[in-house]
Symmetry: C2
Subunit: 390 residues, 2 copies
């Protein structure tokens, strides 16, 4: 067996052979288009806030790019998840199935609804929800009552299934869709990381009743902070816009709100940045795929660790390039993290599993063997699109 | 008695004499400084998101301007209120005293904490919480149990008092501070509208345990969307920053969160705009006071309606210039709203009272006579700072 430090040095060497000798971050944005021009246009128009042409245009372009009928832009991916879950009918006391391996926003959004995340294992092939294992678990742990999926242990309604396309790789969407149908659960896709990722030719985030996107600074395109809700349902789109704009009833001057609403609308200033960024999205996706190919060549010679490849019949945006140790080992993982970061190449492990976080320790969960293995063997390496430009 | 249409025409004439013949909005931002320069700097740095020098600088400048020891920048005023209430200890089932006359964000933020707003009347002198009436109400409707203020009718804890400085005019801060002290209630000031307003020489939002600001597009200065929490307490400031940045424990690479947190941090892009705007804040305040003086002369000749003037010993930012009918009358108010808006001068009434909104209809409330009168007699007229420039 190769020793830890030797492996870590091999990893540094492979990364360096692709990205060069300078320090690089994990995922840095590139602003090479009309960003300044549109920001200036936005300032000149004086419409910098919740109303403006860039918000409408950004929503149209997101719908066009993803193939969703509607896109509703919001302040960030967390807000998108919160509203999507509310519109999925998630109520206080409900449970929402969600992967143990995800960014904390997925679970937090469930908590904002006063509901409980119920953690699900992932599969190695996608790093997302394991639909086969989940179906078997639901068969033995739930029953249908009045068209609702009831958790036999807690007695609570399992209202929604919220898979997350980790690092941009599409989950088994056929699998989760059929679970949603068979168990009367609403499917909402957390596509925060997967803008530009396709499952069998169709864009992620457009399979469930809703999908959510993020345009945080570390995402494939950014609006500073931003997110969106995708849906094909006109009524859901209308309601999402209503809820994210304080639930105000349109009127020339009266301020009347018909329910507790949210101040979640994306400012026009941030949308202006988004409009410039989306013009280069396809170019960035090409660069990110090229970066994968470069890394693949470099890491093919490194023993003990493998570069993660998109699932079959999927086209991934390769948001974060991902290494997986052949054998899960936190000690080795942490040596590699230390040595690569010290060499100036920003790397990081998978998120701490949700069921290991203090606020979610007592939440229901199934066996999480694969998620646990992956959390001990996964390392994300520098993934900025510009690193793949020729 | 003067007839409705004649009064409305007099109002149009008075507004026109101040702002000219062109159409004007209620409150439009002005971008005459370093806005484009700082936005360009922000883009060039690539730090557009939750980390960056403009966020830190904007926070420092807000603290310096207001005299608060700490300012924590967030995505909007609603988010600031939500976190401030959480840090005030507001828990599910609690009640929060808040004016019936306010923008809905004040009440919504209480609802986000799964608490109930408890509506309080206002006084004509400030258009904000009537401290004398509130004290009398609390004397007869609450009792102290184990250092907590208990609503005798509902049995719930009244945890916080959240006055709002309406249209920029400071409430009776001595009055509400002494209530907070005497009844063991935490004072949080909703200063969303009152940046640049002072009570007895001290900035609003710095009297309570926390104060909140808004930089929405219609405010005195704007960041597109944005807000801030002001406090003099180092631990509250630290905790506010922690909660607004997903409650992540600092670590070189590990993602561990110690409670349910929020994605509420102001993006650096928006903070860059704020840094440019705050450089001209004093100038804008001078212009807004000049606009008040111009309106005062113009409206001194109009019978049946009066321009609202800052409370004694207060210096108001005159965020929205305000007319009050001598006798509350919705019919007259609506004729004036119609005629002025048709003439191209955007005007609007006070918000619908909170206890009249569907989501808050069943919330506890005291007698709301003054709020009701004001809601029937108040009209905001065009108030952009540029209208007061010479």
């Amino acid at each position: 067996m190769i020793d830890h430090t030797t492996l870590a040095k091999e990893v540094v060497k492979a990364i360096r052979s692709v990205v060069g000798t300078k320090s690089v971050g994990l995922h840095e944005p590139t602003f090479s288009g009309n960003e300044i021009l549109y920001l200036k246009e936005c300032i000149d128009s004086t419409f910098v806030s919740s109303v403006g042409k860039f918000v409408d245009r950004f929503e149209d372009e997101l719908a066009q790019f993803t193939g969703a009928k509607y896109a509703v832009a919001v302040v960030n991916g967390t807000a998108a998840l919160h509203i999507a879950l509310k519109l999925a009918g998630v109520e206080a006391g409900d449970e929402v199935l969600t992967p143990a391996l995800t960014f904390v926003a997925t679970s937090n959004a469930v908590a904002y609804c006063n509901a409980t995340p119920h953690f699900v294992d992932i599969e190695m092939r996608t790093l997302g929800v394991d639909a086969i294992k989940l179906r078997s678990y639901l068969n033995s742990h739930t029953e249908q009552r009045s068209g609702k999926c009831i958790n036999l242990v807690t007695g609570k309604v399992i209202r929604a299934l919220l898979p997350m396309h980790a690092f941009g790789h599409p989950v088994d969407l056929e699998g989760v869709l059929s679970i949603a149908k068979d168990f009367n659960i609403v499917l909402v896709e957390d596509a925060a990381e997967s803008l530009g990722s396709y499952y069998h030719g169709k864009h992620t985030g457009t399979f469930g009743r809703m999908g959510t996107l993020s345009f945080n600074g570390n995402k494939t395109i950014t609006t500073g902070g931003g997110g969106a809700i995708l849906t094909n349902d006109a009524e859901i789109a209308r309601y999402a816009k209503h809820l994210t704009t304080t639930a105000k009833i349109p009127h020339a001057w009266e301020f009347r709100h018909d329910e507790v609403g949210y101040n979640y609308r994306l400012p026009n200033l941030n949308a202006a940045l988004g409009c410039a960024q989306i013009e280069h999205l396809n170019e960035k996706l090409t660069q990110k795929k090229a970066l994968f190919n470069l890394y693949q060549t470099a890491f093919s010679k490194v023993e003990g660790i493998k570069l993660f490849k998109e699932p079959p019949r999927c086209s991934s945006n390769y948001w974060l390039q991902t290494l997986i140790l052949d054998s899960p080992n936190i000690e080795i993982r942490d040596v590699i993290l230390k040595v690569t970061n010290e060499a100036g190449f920003m790397t990081r492990p998978a998120w701490v599993l949700m069921d290991d976080l203090k606020p979610f320790k007592n939440c229901p969960k199934m066996d999480l063997t694969t998620a646990t293995c992956v959390s001990r063997s996964l390392i994300n390496i520098p993934s900025s699109s510009k690193l793949g430009s020729t």
